[in-house]
Symmetry: C2
Subunit: 196 residues, 2 copies
């Protein structure tokens, strides 16, 4: 039978490969990174990488997803405003750093275009959507009025994403302003407040 071995050596190889990939991505463009380069810096045979990931794209994508998820955990401040503010700042800081921006762009660049891919593309957006959903659900459970998931996506996440993609700096004040306006719109009753 085929018994998988996630232990010791395998995990070490993956860690080395991901670290090398991240380092290379920090110094040059994704399109200029070859499997050979990653193998060389990681101190690993290129054959191993080919056998495990098939091609550079897959390796880079997997690495980027893993790294991006490590950042921006879900806060719990007790109020929607506090949660959104904290989360917005974290996301902005994570994505607009040089590293975060590169990871994010990798996800978009490598997302397949085909039909089955829609799932793949949403994968990149998905986890954050889930976080938004959780924040809103908690607010509604507390009895607070809250905007819909798509509203938060449109008016908080999207502006941050666009800044990250195009290299426009986004500090805390930018995130704060976005949150302020989102909440103002929600209070003015302009956004749909759909309970889960």
């Amino acid at each position: 039978m085929a018994t998988p071995r996630p232990g010791g050596r395998t995990a070490r190889t993956k860690a080395q490969a991901f670290e090398a990939a991240a380092a290379l991505l920090a110094e040059r463009d994704a399109a200029d990174i070859a499997m050979t380069d990653i193998a060389g810096r990681a101190g690993v045979a290129a054959t191993s990488l080919y056998r495990r990931w098939g091609d550079v794209r897959s390796l880079l994508t997997e690495m980027a997803v893993e790294r991006l998820m490590e950042d921006s955990p879900l806060p719990d401040t007790g109020s929607l405003e506090g949660d959104l503010r904290t989360w917005g700042r974290t996301v902005a800081q994570s994505l607009c750093s040089r590293e975060g921006s590169a990871f994010f762009r990798i996800l978009i660049a490598t997302a397949p275009t085909e039909d089955a891919d829609r799932v793949g593309r949403i994968t990149a957006l998905g986890p954050r959507i889930q976080q938004i959903y959780d924040l809103i659900t908690r607010a509604l459970e507390r009895g607070e009025p809250a905007p819909g998931v798509m509203d938060v996506t449109d008016y908080l996440l999207a502006p941050i994403y666009v800044r990250a993609l195009f290299g426009v700096p986004a500090d805390q004040s930018v995130a704060d302003r976005l949150v302020d306006r989102l909440l103002a719109m929600a209070k003015a009753g302009q956004l749909v407040s759909a309970p889960p």
Copy 2:
């Protein structure tokens, strides 16, 4: 002296190459397109393409920029609301089509990460920013109150871009709703109205 020859044959080669590139991009992922493939479909020698564009990335980028600019011309309806609505619909339709989405992702994927690049990355965003600027300037000259360029970017362009990138469909009603809320915010005085 080196006299450039943009005429006949040169233009034809470029047109054939771009058409082939666009066709290939419609059926497979950008990373799976080789210079050889484009040359083959275009009925052109690969050497010519290498000599002119250097690599596949440059060719695809140049093509995508050209094609994206052909769409979404600047409207002039006489009112800011009308202009924004028309323009928003056009941009949404252009970017969220299968083809437009692929072109747009190419721009982001191939934009260099380095320092000098900031210019390069903004290139993709730039033309639309200019359009926004023009719309707003016209409105202010008519005496209409108008939001700032970054406001339109954040609340109209960014949501559309994010939908395009992640494959979320965006029809006219989505664009219309975004415009409505943007204008509502502007009227409520929440947005900075900075004259040029």
